[in-house]
Amino acid sequence: MTSGFAFSPSCPVPDVDSECIELAHGAGGLLTHRLIEDIFRPAFAQSPEDLTHDGALVDVPSGQLAFTTDSYVVQPLFFPGGDIGSLAVNGAVNDLAMCGARPVCLSAGFVIEEGFPIRDLRRIAGSMQSAAQAAGVRLVTGDTKVVEHGKGDGVYINTSGIGAVVTPAPVSPAQVRPGDRIIVSGDIGRHGMAIMATRERLGFEPPIVSDCAPVMSPVLRLIEEVIPLHCLRDLTRGGLATALLEIAQTAGVAMLLEQSDIPVSPPVRGACEILGLDPLYVANEGRFAALVPPDAAVAALAVLRDFDPSAAIIGTVEEAGAVGSVALRTLGGSYALDLLACEQLPRIC
């Protein structure tokens, strides 16, 4: 193409999306109002009252509530398999699911950098809408602030969520028992490697796609199938190794994992090999570990494989061993996994 204009049979429409966020969008006046009416309310409001007041009034079921909050500062904002919007909604939904709770409602707070394209904000709000619909949760209240150009990274999003606990027994590290089987809901490391490949323009072929997704459905199915869930943990920042170490340390147990049973897709493994990274420590956004009693492990695995065929039983909570330890059995023995002292950095060659 030699010009920037494509032939179109329709009339040209003024492209309001080419506009950028200004400081006034966060000042509470006309532009703030317009931002809410043009972008956030169409995407999020399900009733005329949603997003119209200082706070939201929500009907909650009786029983225990789960409550969670998380902030999202990912770069790049858009990546294969998702964007910061889907990440922020799925992150809150998944944290609630890990408490054995069905999400009821979410809040969303945006810190937007002056100059951020409104077109991108609209796209992010759209993917938040899709993610919320997929998880069956409402976004009922929110906030927008604008910071000066150069003082943000495009956009930061905080989401908080309330959920109704639906498991008959508590789901927490305190319930973990020796003999429990450790199941991972799918292959690990996709999200972190997808982000790194996009951020650094590494161009893996085929591209690595993030696993960013709500895990509500598999968790609800596990509950419907009356699988006794001792503990659930999503495998986000710090990856599988960090999640299991945290559980082992809180529960005061020892775990043993089989390296050969841990599912890692060939593209992720290849990318980790090239960069000298350990997939056990790479972030996921749609994967979780479930710890269940040994006699429920096969049934739990069958449920999880309905959602992702790569789900696998990867280890056991040991009868004996060092408290708070997670050992990985390899070819010539086993070694103890450890929390990383610092972020993994790619190696030289």
């Binding site: 330890s325 790619p346 190696r347 030289i348």
Partner: protein, 367 residues
């Protein structure tokens, strides 16, 4: 990628370990050159699959570990200048010089950026014509071709604000230096597969002949390593000292001629300081006269790399294979990845980091 799984298959690995046990009649000491091989050996417990008499020594092939501290100090001095954007491979950022690391300099305001390829640094230079962009060119024969390509590209496109702080090192002279130390106990080498993918292995033939030592070019997966060890031990038991190629799926005898040609055009061989090993003749690469304009030390003449200061860290001996990380009194006590005393505890290819990660003494409390 199914390919890779073949080289991790536990059954095949065990068959090679059994085959080694069958042919060994006496103790042998073998050094793997490359830090990537060290990590794979320690992580998968390859050394524990071998018969008792077979000892593995870990060699100097960790590119960031052998970069001299004085050069890192110079890197920090350059990076701290306001006009400079300093680009480096990620793994180098945490390694301390005599005082601190590039990551610490970044926290103090230096514009230090992690890149995956020197060509990315050329792009940064094009995008920032008002700044001086300096790339920290370190590593063995594996990274030198990409550095050479970046220089040729910058020259071709007339990018005048791009320069290099060069600390490239060569493997064969380091092997010679190790063997010339009478205290060395090395009886066979696993040569680094990635390096030989670039250079081929003809340069290793005089070393094998002169020092009467078998050298097997070896890959990085468990089956590669066990097969390479089998080939070295087979030679030792037969009394042979040849250069053999286990990693033939990647390495050709002549290497990669295009890559070698690029290196030959841009660099000349020169004496080089190695961290912990001192100065080794003809063991480094420097920009040739034609490309001297790209030398950051010419562009910033006020900065001169200093010497390595004495420290309690034994990483020099670890890099020479003279001592194991676990022999160090500070190992996992005063020296951890969080508070490293030396480079070998920092780098993802350093032997001390491998031992810390995979061989730390077990925790005290038990269930």
């Amino acid at each position: 990628m199914k390919h890779l799984d073949e080289y991790r298959d536990p059954e095949t690995a065990r068959r090679y370990a059994d085959a080694v046990a069958e042919i060994v009649t006496r103790p042998w000491t073998i050094m793997e050159i490359c830090g990537g091989q060290t990590h794979s050996i320690v992580r998968h417990g390859i050394d524990r699959m071998l018969p008792d008499g077979v000892t593995l020594l870990h060699g100097p092939g960790c590119p960031v570990c052998v970069t001299p501290p004085g050069m890192i100090d110079a890197a920090i001095a350059i990076a701290s200048r306001p006009e400079v954007i300093f680009c480096s491979f990620g793994d180098m950022l945490r390694v301390p010089g005599n005082d601190r690391s590039l990551l610490a300099a970044k926290a103090r305001g230096a514009d230090v950026r992690m890149v995956y390829s020197p060509v990315d640094a050329v792009k940064i230079a094009q995008d920032n014509p008002g700044r001086e962009v300096v790339f920290f060119a370190i590593g063995f024969e594996t990274t030198a071709p990409a550095t050479a390509m970046a220089v040729l590209q910058a020259q071709g496109m007339g990018v005048g604000n791009f320069s290099l702080l060069v600390s490239h090192v060569l493997v064969p002279p380091a092997m010679e230096a190790l063997l010339s130390d009478p205290a060395n106990g090395v009886q066979g080498f696993l040569a680094a597969g990635h390096v030989c993918t670039i250079t081929g292995y003809k340069d290793y033939e005089p070393i094998a002949r002169c020092h009467r030592i078998p050298i097997v070019v070896t890959g990085f997966e468990p089956v590669d390593l066990l097969q390479g060890l089998y080939m070295v031990i087979r030679q030792l038991e037969d009394g042979r000292c040849e250069v053999e190629n286990q990693y033939s799926r990647s390495v050709r005898p002549e290497g990669n001629p295009e890559a070698r040609d690029a290196v030959g055009r841009v660099f000349g061989v020169q004496a080089q300081d190695w961290r912990g090993m001192g100065r080794i003749e003809a063991s480094g690469l420097g920009l040739s006269e034609r490309f001297a304009a790209f030398d950051a030390l010419h562009r910033f003449p006020m900065i001169t790399p200093g010497a390595e200061r004495a420290s309690e860290c034994i990483s020099g001996e670890v890099l020479r294979g003279a001592r194991k990380p676990s022999d160090c009194p500070a190992f996992a006590k005063g020296c951890t990845p969080e508070h490293p005393l030396g480079a070998t505890m920092v780098s993802s290819e350093g032997a001390c980091a491998a031992y810390y990660r995979y061989r730390r003494p077990a925790l005290a409390a038990t269930v």
